[in-house]
């Protein structure tokens, strides 16, 4: 049934720190690798991989934006974009077959690939471009929060997180239960003022983004301030040249 669950016991999701993301795309590659080789669901296809126009299915994409403040230099922000596992997921309710669903136990939005007819309507309904139709399998692919890792007792404890979180070299990606206000991710969101993407779309995303912090210049306090008036020989030279 593509009705959304009224509430979920947990709300598993990601917290993405835009302050520390360096745009290395390690999360993109590890996601692609895990979700192609883990054997759960159809592999993420590549088309024309070695040809002139390669393209493929990815569940995570990293954009780079520049932001120009009113006063101050332009900043670059690397911006990973994937499924936000919305509480009011519009992709779920538009599904005509029931293939798209939100798990009542942990809030993860999933696709039953055996029931998907590949109509693409869920991808249209998503404001975040989080769903991609797999050209080879003809079914919709999306982030599963690595359901085949997070509950997998065969993996080491440290590996029971989504592949993107495990791969991030800067610790910019955090995984946890955002419905529990005492969880580390919830405290991080509270401390850093985490935000929803496009809240006016009414999707109530579970994933949160931590905005970049104000730039901290570590060196400036250690340097002598530049004097307005130079003294000594240089000061005398400055004044002498002015008089010429």
């Amino acid at each position: 049934m593509t009705d959304l669950p009224g509430r979920t016991e947990r709300s598993l999701g990601l917290v993405i720190d835009l302050d520390t993301c360096v745009g290395c795309h390690a999360c993109v590659v590890s996601c692609k690798e895990w979700n192609t080789s883990s054997g759960t669901g159809a592999p993420l296809a590549d088309l024309d991989a070695y040809g002139a126009r390669p393209e493929g299915t990815f569940l995570n994409r990293v954009h780079a934006f520049e932001v120009t403040p009113e006063d101050g230099p332009t900043r670059v922000v690397h911006f990973p974009r994937s499924c936000l596992h919305c509480a009011d997921a519009p992709c779920v309710t538009v599904c005509p077959t029931g293939a798209s669903y939100k798990r009542a136990s942990d809030g993860i939005v999933l696709v039953d690939e055996d029931a998907c007819i590949g109509c693409g309507l869920c991808a249209w309904a998503c404001p975040y471009g989080a769903r991609e139709m797999d050209a080879a399998a003809g079914v919709m692919k999306k982030c599963t929060l690595c359901v085949d890792r997070i509950d997998n007792a065969n993996l080491a404890e440290a590996d029971r997180v989504p592949a993107c979180v495990r791969a991030c070299p800067t610790g910019a990606r955090h995984f946890g239960d955002l419905a529990d206000p005492t969880s580390p991710v919830s405290r991080l969101v509270a401390a850093r003022g985490g935000v929803d993407l496009a809240p006016e779309q009414g999707t109530r995303p579970v994933n949160k983004y931590l905005p970049p912090r104000a730039p901290v210049d570590l060196l400036a306090p250690l340097l002598d301030p530049v004097p307005a008036e130079a003294g000594g020989f240089l000061g005398w030279l400055d004044r002498a040249l002015d008089r010429l």
């Binding site: 593509t2 403040p69 911006f79 077959t97 029931g98 693409g120 309904a125 919709m140 779309q201």
Partner: protein
Amino acid sequence: MHPAPSIIVFTVLSGLGFGLMAWLGAGAAHGGPLVAAAFAALALGLAGAGLLASLLHLGQPRRFLRAFSQWRSSWLSREAVLAVAAISVFAAYALLWILGLRLAPLGALAAALALAAVFCTAMIYAQMRTVPRWRSPLTPAIFLLSALAGGALLADAIPAAQVLLAALALAQLAAWARGDRAVAAPDTTLASATGLGGLGAPRLLAPPHTGPNYVTREMVHVIGRRHAARLRAAGLALAAILPLAVSVALPVGHLVGAALVLSHLAGMLVLRWIFFAEAEHVVGLYYGRL
């Protein structure tokens, strides 16, 4: 949005077929068994051809039966259920009509189901908060008016067709005006979509991939927007203004009637192409476009 030929053909042909069903169900067209059979075949053929075209759009068309299951939440599922219901009830009505028994209540039921199916098709698009140009009551208004106007032309209900064509033209002009305003001042901006608005004005510096992907091909289609003004004029002229003017100026016989239907059909294909091609999806913001 990508203007997929299968969806354009599906919405236009099935719209026309369901529109004709509505008129025939309401008692339009008179004649013997042959006339009844010809009209019924035309309505069922158009609706059926449209539905078959819609299957071409699916990645897994053999699983289409599953699409009938989620009518409680999904407009696409409701459309599938109502389309099959309308075709079934109309087929029964047409069979009795051919045999000489035209049951008005059964016809009214077929007409209501046919219009409900068209309404559900339109709501698939009108419900999309992600496509500001579609999210308006004008979307179902245009789908219903075009189905009813085309059906009236086919059913030789010319006075009604004239009123409906005029209404269709006005609704289309209003939809374009509203759509252009909605896109000029969108609710969702790159600032809100990235959450970076508090820092300043964001702009795309580098896209995540240099080639196309499913999202950009399906939802960031921009080719149609270049010629939008000319296509709008051509579509509106062929679909509504020309058939309206000719039907007022000339007596409508079989030959003129057929020409009017073909003009309307060609115009609706153009209008439906623009409906998709110029519609902006908010995901385009992440790629530096809306």
